[in-house]
Amino acid sequence: MALSPSWRTKLLGSLQGQLQLATYLAVFLGFTGASSVGLWIGQRNLIQNNAKELRRSAEAIQACMRKGGADDRDFVQQELLLHSSMRTSLWVENSDASLVLPQSDHLEISDEAIQSSMAANPDRVVGRQELIRLGEQLYLSELVQRFSNGARLWISQEVSTNQRALNDYLALMILIWSGCLVITLMAVSSLVRRIVQPLEQLNAATAQVTAETLASARLPLERGPVEVMQLGRTYNALLERLSQSWSQQRQFVSAVSHELRTPLTIVQGYLNRTVKRGDNLTEAQVRGLRTAEEESIRMRRLMDDLLDLSRGDSGKLSIQSEPVRLADQLEQVADLARSTLQRPLHLELPAAVEQRDAIAQADPGRLRQVLLDLIENADKYSPADRPIRLVMREEPEAHAIDVIDQGIGIPEDELNTVFDRFHRASNAPERTGSGLGLSVVKLLVEGMGGSISVCSRLGEGSRFTVQLPR
């Protein structure tokens, strides 16, 4: 089995996480692609448009200079001035390295920009474009033309303003994207929660279904996607069928137990009478009849257990509740048990008289049945000659009766299931019981308003504690 970290299980292992991840990826990829491509195209267009503009100016100057003469310094200066602006500068570098600038009182030419532009192209490669940063300003410069007399036409344009506009565009895009991402994720989370809610209800309802609640457990789905609503209806129909099936099974068990109980009682009676009154039976025949009688008694008790469980399931189990003096009941149980046990049974009653006279609310017949079943259980799983203790004691909230043995014990991981129907401990010898006795005990104790618990150690023994209300 894979051991995923909790974050990964949360993200990839749940429907909600997967949908959120898919949404995040869709928004993320969409925006990353759109913003990157938009930015790249914007950046490229910005540079290309500026370069085109510069070239157009340069071509115009070249044409004019060819017409008017490149050697006329004033004419050249005039032409350069005509095409220069606050952001665009054109100048000529003569062969002797002197510069012809479009000087004007109204136009400020940055000497630093000019020098940096020429320094960035020391080999004077025609057509080479350079981006030059001077403080906060960014310039795009190019050596446009080399004339026949050795003069070179340079051009430079300040592009910081356009860059700032692009920067603002990028910041705005980030803001919009972040907002879209957050809103989309919140919307999807809310939507997914609505979709998943019926499934969680289904899960919770399934976890609460037991044999007792099978008839009433239904999934109350009022709203949800069509698929989930359909699943809910199918689930409720399944519960209905299970409930019917369970009900029929209980009726069957109840009927069979009831029908078998009467003939078994008759068989047991005849066997008993034959053994007692038969005067011509051999010893082997008597032994065989005794075995048959014991087996019929065992079978009748099994039928009684099944009948009790069946009645408990259908709510028809009859349990009285009346004041019972526990010490009397325990003495009767001890006497009855000693008559059949092949081992010592120690009855321990409280020393204090007022505790010995404790009165509990219980059904005396059922209480004796419970204690005899627990003693029989202790006898079944204890080595020979190990004593069983029947202890009465007082607890702050209830009266407690312990049945303590020194038997094989119960494995720790099975203590929670020891009262389940048909459950037998994994270390129990074969053919030692049906697995119904303790579940009947629990049913009867709880029917009297009490509770039962067990603590046990393997190889050392077990202690079953019955707590009854005062």
């Binding site: 990353t32 930015l39 990028l170």
Partner: protein, 118 residues
Amino acid sequence: MISYLVFCSLLIPVNLWAAITPHMHSDLSMRILHGISTVLLIPLLTTLWGDRQQLVKLPAVLLAVFAVVLVVVNSWITAMGMGVEFGWLDHVLLAVSELSVVAFFLLEPQPTAEDRTS
């Protein structure tokens, strides 16, 4: 971990933007970007080392070498500042590395109970 992965994923477009517009960020913001991108590669390297027994050798080694080279180069850039030639390419590689971090942690094969006990 989810916050870490979201942060890594956010650095992918940021590095792409930085690669596309090399003149739009200042020296300080560039150093911060390189520094953060470098630091975010450390958990990838530690996990690669920690889970080396469970990972497929060749892709893991390639990813580790790629991450180590980027950590070394970008630590140097963070210390030295702007002016690196082919800086845009470094930003593209950083975007790829952040993508690989996210992909690795989401798709990394998980050790089984048998692997843990053996």
